[in-house]
Symmetry: C2
Subunit: 662 residues, 2 copies
């Protein structure tokens, strides 16, 4: 799929990528050692961008709703991830090429070959082929497989339907597709081995003895669940509430490509919102977001082999059942607003519902916020309804009471069949079997009790099954037992909360921000493109560039003074007093995404006025120190935009030689 830049120019990924590396937004980890697939470091601007996005995330979610933030360990004993289901089920399907030993991810393999065949078919039909840009490595391999061969119309339809639901297949189904369509590894011409499950967790050993296996967490969620009872207590027993956590998680991807989008170590920001499963999972603040419009791609559309979306207000989507409940809907809308705030292109977001087989083992429903990039639609935020799955399995395994006890405002009367045993006679009668028989009786269901009450009335005795006592059938006469229907009053209710989990992959979001905010200006009369990253000021790595007109001594005190002023305001700035031209210095900082620039010139020395430059328009205004600082603060806080400043302050036509957008 061909993508475009923020200004509608054709998007050229290698150019952006080389710019991001040159400006050290990120860099492959251990590059001087040849690098390791799926591991990347953030350099100074990447690190600052990440910190700013996380900071806004905290304000938007944690502070706004008084969530309880925790910081749990990544090292996790195996037992916990066994209970949570990750040891058995957190796997991808992996094939091996029997000829060259290549390890291949099965779903990606099927996807690539079928896409290549569809492309070949289009070529054979003489249709224009839309180039889906790929990782260069991937492209090389694939090109071998692309031959202009026409397919039957029915086959084309089959392929398209398979691709629309590729995430819905398990290992056996992927194996069957490989057999059915004779999919061969282009590198060797050989069909790979049947898919085998490969667990994605990194294993290690905790402590000096070898019998304490552990894993690096694949998500931050488990640590939050294990602390549920303490967090509920900390929250003074009030429901609903949410915990939140920002931290690294680890997934041992089979063969990571696609740069920052598929990595083995990544920063996650996760929320676990605990809600009463009864009463339709309402949310008290749902009305605040009901009008927010989202682009939705639901499960049924995908299963029908299609990818049509519709734009709909979340209030309506919940009302008509597209989105299951208010709490899920509330968070989808809040996620949308967050992505908007940090600078995601509004035309490149959709929310896609998971299909049944695609969902994680713990999820009852799940919607992904997907962002469009040159790699296709990328899952950046998951919003799953994990139901009571996790709390239930951990409570069962440990006996810990991971539940809510709620005092009922109106006590409930419950009609039920109760059993009374004449303990004085019962014990001596059954002797050593007494306890076993008693336990079997206590365990009888309400239905069974009703039937037995009838039996007791008719026959004066009942016969019940008690494993391990005599023949397994035990007779109890009416002088030992009574069964009666009575009314019991409940003052409290116990329940296991359900969990709605918005889960953010910060690294993926950052990559999408790069693509969504990138564009180029014409070069200085030449053909060299000058890159710009138009990050919104609140997320930009550095907010203000300070440039003196020249290296003249008289500018130095003002540079120092303005740096300090900005630091006091909590605004990050950088000085560029290199000998490069002012235009060059601004260019460099356009690439770093610095939204504002202050030029210090001779007039500044005389009257303490400064010019303030806007990165995106390259327009400048001029005013005195206090006015300029106030303007900067309002832009960085997101209270005003440049258009407001331009209206308020006098324009300045100055030294800069920027050439407008071509």
């Amino acid at each position: 799929m061909a993508t475009t830049t923020l200004k509608g120019q054709p998007f050229d990924r290698p150019i952006l990528d080389s710019m991001l590396r040159r400006r050290m937004f990120y860099t492959p980890s251990f590059e001087i050692y040849g690098g390791t697939a799926g591991l990347y470091d953030y350099g100074p601007p990447g690190c600052a961008l990440q910190a700013n996005v996380v900071d806004l995330w905290r304000k938007h979610f944690v502070l706004e709703e008084d969530m309880l933030e925790v910081d749990c360990t990544a090292l996790t004993p195996a037992e916990i991830l066994k209970t949570s289901g990750h040891v058995d089920k957190f796997a991808d399907w992996m094939c091996k090429d029997p000829k060259n030993g290549d390890i291949i991810r099965a779903d990606h393999f099927v996807e690539e070959i079928l896409e290549a065949r569809l492309k070949g078919d289009k070529e054979a039909r003489g249709l224009k082929v839309e180039e889906k840009e790929e990782d260069p490595k991937k492209k090389k391999k694939k090109s071998k497989a692309t031959e202009a061969i026409k397919l039957d119309d029915a086959v084309v339809k089959e392929y398209e339907e398979i691709l629309a639901q590729i995430d819905n297949y398990g290992g056996e189904e992927l194996g069957a597709l490989i057999k059915k369509y004779e999919l061969k590894n282009p590198a060797t011409g050989v069909e790979p081995s049947p898919p085998a499950a490969f667990n994605l967790m990194f294993q290690t050993t905790i402590g000096p003895s070898s019998n304490a296996p552990g894993y690096l967490r694949p998500e931050t969620a488990q640590g939050q669940f294990l602390n549920f009872a303490k967090l509920l207590e900390f929250n003074q027993q009030q429901m609903p509430f949410a915990s939140a956590s920002v931290g690294k998680s680890f997934r041992n991807e089979i063969s990571p490509r696609a740069g920052l989008l598929r990595v083995r170590e990544f920063l996650m920001a996760e929320i676990e919102h605990y809600v009463d499963p009864e009463g339709g999972k309402k949310h008290a603040r749902f009305h605040e977001v009901a009008d927010v419009e989202l682009v939705l791609l639901n499960r049924h559309t995908q299963l029908a082999g299609k990818t049509d979306v519709k734009k709909v207000a979340i209030g309506k989507a919940v009302a008509d059942g597209t989105v299951d409940n208010e709490t899920l809907g509330y968070f989808l809308a809040r996620i949308h607003l967050f992505l908007k705030k940090i600078g995601v292109d509004q035309s490149k977001i959709r929310f896609r519902q998971h299909m049944a087989n695609e969902m994680a083992h713990y999820a009852a429903d799940c919607w992904d916020a997907e962002l469009q990039t040159s790699y296709g639609w990328i899952e950046c935020v998951g919003c799953a309804d994990r139901s009571a799955y996790d709390l239930t399995v951990h409570a069962k395994k440990t006996g810990a009471p991971l539940m809510v006890r709620e005092r009922l405002e109106t006590p409930i009367s419950i009609e039920e069949w109760q059993i009374d045993l004449d303990k004085k006679k019962f014990g001596p009668f059954f002797k050593k079997d007494g306890k076993t028989v008693e336990a079997a009786i206590e365990a009888l269901s309400q239905e069974k009790r009703e039937a037995l009450a009838q039996e007791l009335k008719q026959d004066g005795k009942i016969i019940i099954d008690v494993e391990g006592v005599g023949s397994g059938k035990v007779e109890v006469s009416k002088d030992l037992i009574a069964i009666e229907k009575r009314t019991r009053v409940e003052n409290t209710r116990e329940y296991t909360p359900n969990v709605i989990e918005p889960s953010f992959g910060i690294g993926r979001i950052l990559y999408c921000l790069f693509e969504h905010n990138y564009w180029t200006r014409g070069g200085d009369g030449g053909d060299e493109a000058r890159g710009v990253l138009s990050f919104p000021p609140p997320v930009a790595p550095t907010k203000v560039l300070l440039v003196p007109l020249s290296s003249h001594e008289s500018f130095k005190p003002l540079l120092k003074y303005m740096s300090l002023k900005l630091r006091t305001l909590g605004v990050s700035s950088r000085v560029d007093d290199s000998s490069a031209s002012i235009g060059k210095r601004y260019s460099r900082n356009d690439e770093l995404g610095t939204p504002l620039g202050i030029t210090i010139d001779f007039q500044s020395v005389n009257d303490k006025t400064y010019t303030l430059r806007d990165r995106d328009s390259t327009k400048q205004v001029r005013a005195d120190e206090d006015t300029i600082l106030a303007a900067i603060k309002s832009l960085v806080d997101g209270v005003k935009v440049w258009a407001d400043i331009e209206k308020e302050l006098p324009a300045f036509e100055g030294q800069e030689t920027d050439i407008p957008v071509r």
Copy 2:
């Protein structure tokens, strides 16, 4: 060693510990599964305290000096940590009890037994024994070993000298001490096995094939070093500069006890400051800190078996050579100022120099900032001079140019012996051996060249060693070679920078903050102690508690309004509108370390004035909204202290029933 609280009261660790857990500052990870030694989670207040300390760290170090922050991966391929020396040398000495299989850390074992014997000796001499508080588990084991046995005076002296330099011993020496003094495991009465090295890194495998071993980083430093060349480029080739990183590191401790002080996963904040090794490692801002006084415990004192400290201005310590150079001294002082700012007790800091054998394999000199706690003196910040060690080994291994090329202002003339070969004759003469002989000649040292020049002049030929050519001796006659002394002019200088590394263990610092800021108020006439954590406002987890006088409806809008006002100011607050008494509610927040409280009463509803309460003195003032908010902001930013506020605003004698410090 008996410790006291902030107010000089006897310190009771179990009481503090239970309060910290009750208020969820921290909690053992996976507690419902029985917990895992050395792993802890931070709950909401711990998490906020940690975030605030890290935030102040960034401001104090990174922003103040324009350091280049990076975020590198924890997963690290084995090759890198092999090169850095960690695979071979990053180990502790471990013994095994042959009887019960206990795994014991050798140095801690020797320390404990000798201390127990010294205590027994004191008892036998009828001296008062100063109770050194220990972890409860540890205490139980140890008590068995403590018997009141008098030792020879000479033995007492030996033991004391060994303990003063316990960190200086290697495995062999620890084994010898165990043999010599017949140290037996109190649990079994058996002497443990000789110490063996146990590597402290967690191992794993990166990727699906099993031949890519990796480790979790034991420090954040390596990622910074590997990016050195790119960071220098990012810094526009300017030296000196520093990189910085905040992130988790992992050490597989043998048998972690001592709560938050010895853990297997921990947050580190590390700085790598790159400095020219020539010119005495001066620092341009050293004069700003020269008068800062530090408490120093140097290497010589420890080796003499003593622990005497002296308080000295860092300027003097550098001048007299106690601290090696200005850059190291600058950072020691900056560390001191940081610790002071975040609330470390000034009477409980010392800087201890490492002894030769104690230093990490990479360090040329190292001073630890140690903080005094009920566990003894704890290393919280290390400040090592890693010399050029790391950059050199990685450059050597990979061939990457991890060095600085500096243009010399005045070019240097270098006199040297240069060799000219007559290439036309040389090649044909030596044929296939030509290249080998040439390489051997080029590798000749200056000294050797001078001697050979003499030989050539005398004999008309020289004889040189060339391995692998003929007999290993090769004759070169004067028609093939000339050796002359000439002057060469150098315009650039290349050097590998040295690294000064301040390295902060954030978790240890947090624990020390707990102990240093804890004290108790008398109970309500009873004997129950009421805990207070007197964190400085800038680091306190929550800054303001908002309490309505009662649950009266009229207070609700004001609560909401003031919450929003505080949030806009960037000040974190919490509302407590529970039915508990105001005193109780404040008590709870004293335990959470909340420095300020606003009471909303009926007068507030009428005239929008509020009372502001100081946690430490429980004094209150009353003023209008704007005045109160300004006071809060100035306290939270650390611009003013409570005494200032008390002078400026009218006191309020109100509802609270706090009882003063007993």
